[in-house]
Symmetry: D2
Subunit: 300 residues, 4 copies
């Protein structure tokens, strides 16, 4: 099997490497030639442009930062137009819903099968080939994409028709962002009320406040040794990426007429966090938005 | 052992009954004589006032709706003043932090031991003697209260000094309220994006969006058969009670200077829910605040 | 002078009529032939498509509902591509910032002058030729657009380079939406505290709470006789239009990394208002989101 | 006329001085003897305790920081109990609604007339005797208080029964806080979109976004020369005082069951502002919560 792979960033490159490790061939492209060189080192064939990357391949995988890049690759750069009729196109990027819909429509008009297949798990899981992927598309498109996705993921979920994979990721991360901000304000409040964070953690994790976020990403140092809170909030998942997903959720909510007060409050907190220069910290570092500081007093 | 018990509401009465079942004597009082009569039926001795209820008892338990009632019982009605020096006072009510602090100070000045010991679990768990109780107070006060609490609870946590029991409950329920509102907006958004709720549930519960609230109180009908969502949102825990706790959290945040944007957004949603006449529904019924309706159009 | 006019809705049609009344010729197009017929009745020449509407005209004016329509007209339908080089294009639509930027770039590449020129004032002011228009574009583009704008408006402000006209309208309406929601909660709270709305109005309007919104659109019946609150909230400016602008503000905030907690809370309220079937009411009808109702109780 | 005056802070002292200047006698008390000494310098007679300050006076005025202090003076220190029956008590403090209600009830039970009479205008207006005062109480209480209030204020409004004066101030400042945060996000967004703040100000102030807050406290330097924004945000009205009022509004909303999403979002912003060490800046300095900073990056 030969896979055309476009987008060799922090997660894209290890994804392409996972495909190579599974025994498939990869033709790789990125706007940055240095990234292409790294893929070539790993065994891929380098391409000098998107359309070269997809010529004569069995499947196309894209992994770009945002909707605008996905539009550029598929529409402006001509991937949809130049792919042989009946191609299987796999967009692993996390894009906005409007972009997803526009791409699916264009792909369908050109006679291709296409799935939205956004990934979760970060660079480490990508390197291990153990990402989690939620997939949206027809049964046929999913069946065609599944063998390629299996090379990169330990967990692949077909969530429904086109867009459902993206929707599932966005809804999950909307909840995650809200929970982390909620946990942050509970631990900030508890601390001010004199509660020992260890005891608050034990009580909450055995009660109705329990969650994956609490057990894995407890936002205060102490209770969960593996939480980034014990490591200077060094990112397991970077805040600026969650901020991006909260923004996609907000745009999707406007598109569909759903009020989003909780998600919007979380979005504002993560925006403030990024503006404070903390966007590269872990998602649980949002607790810093609840802390007292006198840093800015001198600016007055 | 003889226990003076004040406050025989939906949860207080079964708590008093649990104490009786454990073999202790109970002297019971409530402002409503009909509630006292029920306690007498269950084996308690009825009292005609708060001070009679606490005369010659080994421990005092109170279970009243809110801070103002707790102040009335302990301060205005003279429970603290008239209790024999060195009494153990157990306030199982969920009150505001300012009230808790005022009562502890008054009790200490009068030479009593006092614990804040708010309960979780609702009427059913109260009837089974299987409540969860978080306790705040000195070691000595906790040790004196523990045998009484054990008659009513399957799980008793000493959270720290005075106020810590209350703080733990409030922080937990702050998180719960935020999560339920967050889950509601994720399922509302997912639904509008065409996601099958069953699939969204399965994906989220096996991912970073997992939580106790999702698994027990999934806000849409279907995925979790035991969720109130499958039963017309008939309350396992009533929304108006969570609203009360969110209000206490907000007041505590103001007292201690913690910003609370997430908790405040949840508080507004539960307030709207109560104002829409839905306060007696289950906490997960907050999803109704995200739904489209044309009910009010005719008012225009 | 001959003007090509595309988009003959509730505001577009009276705008085109104002141009005719000023003595200019109009070639008019709308997707709905009935609207074209109305323009023809008013003296315009009807066109059978966007490109016909702009052939051999001195200026092009567009007035469509949202960004997607503006993209369709200018890009997909070929207005930018088919207009003679050096045309002056005037988009009076209120579109999202990303669309505005895409259209300006395309127009510049094709050698046209283009301005964003969103209008305020509603159908009545449009019919009188007394709209307020904020304009963004180069000095040259503004000077070319100004004579056409003067036919439709009593007040035309050149706000700066491309995008500035749109930005000014969005920032203004962001403030308006926030103020109306804020006034609504103040009057709702005041009412519950027993304040006479007349007295609250007099006190606030002579103090630091004064605003145009208070004096013109006071959200409770009584204090301001001309407020829609005294007329069943019949729209002077419809809530669903303000909702649209709050959405554009939110999208612009995400694009530029500005936190928007106030605007987001207002956006949620107006979304709830529309979902309650009240989107056609006046903007000040948002106070209904603060009212008690038992309408939905029976749904439980 | 002889006035007992309790509470000689930044505003209380110039208020007492205004009364002296009007020709009345003042018996003054404050917990801080240095403040009493200043009042004595200004011509008052000093008292060594609250009850001495109110012995044999024609009216009692109190001006303390918050509800807890007002409760202490009137209830714990015995001002209500020890005042001669039928006294007129004037609380100029801005207290929470629950405190106001408790004090009115106690005063009525003791046979006194009492008004809530919170002041606006700050230390400068206090020194000039030109405060604005909103008053709540019976007609009789108002008539008795009016001559004393006239010595301190240029504008006195009788807003209704007991509590109405306080409610009016709180509702006004709720709106003010919401508007300032709203203006801040509009100017922050406008700036990022490339809008000249001068032009945004001119456009907004001649349109539906106009308000007292915009014209007096425009949050960016430039457009309004007298705005604190041009003076390093040196306080005309300090942010921590508005924060206090937003907290009272929030508590009042909970007491009365009004959702307060806008006020809550503003409360969170001002809390963050205070926690950043900026609580002494002007209320319009809340725009700093919208700014980018890399101050905290090094903490990561």
């Amino acid at each position: 099997m030969k896979v055309g792979f476009i987008g060799l960033g922090n997660i894209g490159l290890p994804m392409a490497t996972s495909i190579l490790r599974s025994g498939a061939e990869v033709v790789a492209f990125d706007l940055d030639p240095a990234r292409v060189a790294k893929a070539v080192e790993a065994g891929a064939r380098g391409a000098i442009g998107p359309t070269e990357a997809i010529a004569a391949v069995d499947a196309v995988v894209t992994m770009v930062p945002a909707g605008e890049h996905s539009r550029r690759v598929y529409l402006d750069d001509g991937v949809i137009a130049s792919a042989p009729a009946g191609s299987i196109l796999i967009d692993c990027s996390t894009v906005d819903i409007a972009t997803e819909r526009a791409l699916k429509a264009a792909a369908a008009a050109a006679g291709h099968d296409m799935v939205d297949a956004p990934v979760s798990g970060g660079p480490l899981r990508a390197a291990e080939g153990k990402l989690t992927i939620t997939v949206g598309g027809t049964e046929r498109a999913f069946e065609r994409a599944a063998p390629v996705l299996a090379m990169m993921a330990s967990s692949v979920h077909h969530m429904g028709a086109g867009g459902a994979g993206l929707a599932a990721k966005i809804c999950n991360n909307l909840v995650l962002g809200i929970e982390l901000a909620g946990l942050s304000e509970a631990f900030a409040l508890g601390g001010k009320l004199g509660l020992d964070p260890e005891k608050l953690f034990r009580s909450m994790s055995s009660s109705s406040g329990d969650s994956w976020a609490l057990r894995e990403l407890c936002p205060v140092p102490g209770p969960v040794p593996t939480s980034p809170a014990n490591n200077g909030y060094r990112a397991r998942g970077a805040a600026h990426l969650l901020l991006k997903d909260l923004g996609i959720a907000q745009a999707a909510a406007q598109l569909t007429g759903v009020p989003l007060p909780m998600g919007a409050a979380a979005l504002s907190l993560y925006t403030q966090m990024k503006n404070a220069g903390l966007g590269d910290l872990d998602v649980c570092g949002v607790i810093k938005m609840y802390e007292e500081t006198t840093d800015r007093a001198s600016h007055a």
